[in-house]
Symmetry: C2
Subunit: 371 residues, 2 copies
């Protein structure tokens, strides 16, 4: 198996910098659009294990240099399974039929049963693993407790997060109860994915960055730490035990990296506002760093994509002595991305990062007087 990603997440030496892309199975690929059309709707695609498996593997077939698969699913499967009724309005983002606003709404929320309510996700995980045949590791994922709460209270996306923040400021006790329920559901959800075969997990804290300093720590970071305290950190497969590394990604969380590194995760995703070298100096070798090319850099010509990718690689510097970098974007890939940009990106990362390590090794040999 290509275990470069897992090794990097565990801060072990790798022959090159592994790379995968958030939302790599997505609308920028014609083959994805074809499967999506066959499925009829985004939700049908996400809820049919065979189709979810199919689109999960599409980018790997097109781009042999990708070092990971990520489960194709929606971030809102958990609140949907809690009974909120997820749907997609035409041309708009996700919506919930029922929102969570009152004491009674929170009390009514139960941690979903993973087998009966979210079995389709676990079937997809297991099918993807079988189909992958060990080519690359499979990453499972969930939204963070706070990010799920944003959608559950707002009933969909939001510009100012007024409803969820009003609840937070007016009823912090109730918000904490909601977050605790979400944390339990997220931990159970990720653990079920691990048991179904996920070899790494990622928590998307997409809206952590809308919280003020101080409240972020209480309302997003603390529930993510709770999840980590209850996360399976190993899985057993064919009698063999393997660690299951976790990644936490708080978009807009660049000011809180030290605290995020203390959640118990193995790696931190960072957006493009973060300088990877500065981030590395701040968190040390406690966690690997994942990121952080601006997805819009892929709108440029292949030669320019190469230049921007090099900027990111150079900002991290040489991955050694427990410092590890997983190349990724700083956010999901745009549906408008030309597929050839991804090609240029992946080749640049592989070529440059291989050469970077070789040159460092040559320098060591030279310094130690070897011929």
């Amino acid at each position: 198996m290509n275990d470069v990603l897992i090794r990097a997440l565990l801060r072990l030496p790798t022959p090159y910098t592994p790379v995968w892309l958030m939302r790599q199975a997505g609308r920028y690929l014609p083959e994805y659009r074809a499967t999506r059309a066959r499925a009829g709707s985004f939700l049908a695609l996400a809820k049919t294990p065979e189709l979810a498996c199919e689109v999960t593997l599409q980018p790997l077939d097109r781009y042999p240099l990708l070092d990971a698969a990520i489960l194709f699913s929606d971030i809102l499967t958990v609140p949907d399974a809690m009974g909120l009724g997820l749907y997609f309005a035409d041309g708009e983002g996700p919506r919930f039929a029922r929102t969570v606003l009152s004491e009674a709404d929170v009390a009514a929320l139960a941690v979903p049963d993973m087998a009966s309510d979210l079995g389709y996700v676990m079937e997809a995980v297991s099918l993807i693993r079988t189909t992958l045949k060990g080519r690359v590791p499979l990453i499972g994922f969930s939204g963070s407790p706070w990010t799920l709460a944003c959608y559950m209270v707002e009933g969909g996306g939001s510009e100012d997060f007024r409803k969820v923040k009003t609840l937070l400021y007016k009823r912090p006790d109730l918000m904490l109860r909601l977050l605790q329920r979400n944390a339990e559901a997220v931990a159970a959800y990720l653990n079920a994915q691990i048991e179904a075969g996920a070899q790494a997990v990622m928590i998307f804290d997409t809206w952590g960055g809308v919280l003020p300093d101080g409240l972020f720590q209480q309302f997003s970071l603390a529930p993510m730490r709770w999840v980590h305290d209850h996360l399976l950190r190993e899985r057993t497969e064919q009698g063999q035990r393997s660690p299951v590394p976790s990644i936490v990604f708080t978009k807009g969380g660049g000011l809180w990296l030290e605290e995020l590194a203390s959640t118990g995760c193995d790696a931190l995703g960072v957006d493009w506002t973060v300088n990877l070298g500065a981030a590395r100096a701040r968190v040390g070798s406690r966690v690997a760093l994942q990121g952080n090319l601006d997805p819009m850099a892929l709108m440029a010509d292949p030669g320019q994509v190469q230049g921007q990718a090099l900027r990111v690689l150079e900002s991290f510097g040489l991955p050694q002595d427990g410092f590890a970098h997983v190349f990724n974007l700083g956010h999901g890939i745009s549906q408008h991305t030309p597929p050839e940009s991804v090609e240029a990106l992946l080749e640049t990362v592989r070529t440059y990062s291989t050469r970077q390590r070789e040159q460092a090794q040559l320098a060591v040999m030279h310094n130690s007087g070897a011929p």
Copy 2:
């Protein structure tokens, strides 16, 4: 004159922490909505000096504890004066009739003539000063060169800034030419406001935070430094010379505070993700800090607003030895804000910050053995 704001921006001691609110003249006030209805449209309101003056003063009449007036105007007056044709579609944000995409579009942009193209803004500034009669200082403002470029290229607001970033990545040379033209226009615009009577100026870099580290420095920070290099730093009124402090606010720019402090500004606006104590330790006493309450905290009950305001004041700590804090929100006030929340906020800031200084003085006297 109440010069507490100006003193704080210049890092001089003040008897309490001055406070004003971004977008303090706005839709959350019934009196604003009445004037807006009389004007017929937002643009008519912004372009009629008497009405712009009227709404600028409304929050000061309602809230005597405010320490500044800020010119009521739109952030896009400059590109409008460059000939792009600003308009507001019903219930939507600002739009431009013409956008800037090509070499020819950029070449056609001229720095507007301040008297003939933007005279209505200067008239409003001068009228507000006359009407204020020195109650509080008047802050003038402009969008940053990069933020204006975002609207000029996108033709309005954007979620992913795809057009402006595509131009940046594909034609960095052309983008820099556009930014240079904007920087010249912004400097001329702010200088004209200063000559018309503005006693401080603020640059709103609303979209600086969407740029990656490295490119932010080149495409947003450098043009703001250029503006500062060409900014009038003093004004003469009735034979008296006074300094004109400047404030730079990059939303989402918390990772770049040290660099922002080097633009030549006197104060940095910061959003609510920033811890003021940590920011103060990073930038030292080179600049004052302005901010940073989450505007959504004002959705809570008055007692809770008080608690959140105290959190912000305490995070800054005692303003002394050249460290200064101007209390503000971390973004414009929401139209949904209950006006009594603002009352509670202003009283808390004045009362707590006055007591804070008195207690510190008592402690000094006590330590020095005074009775």
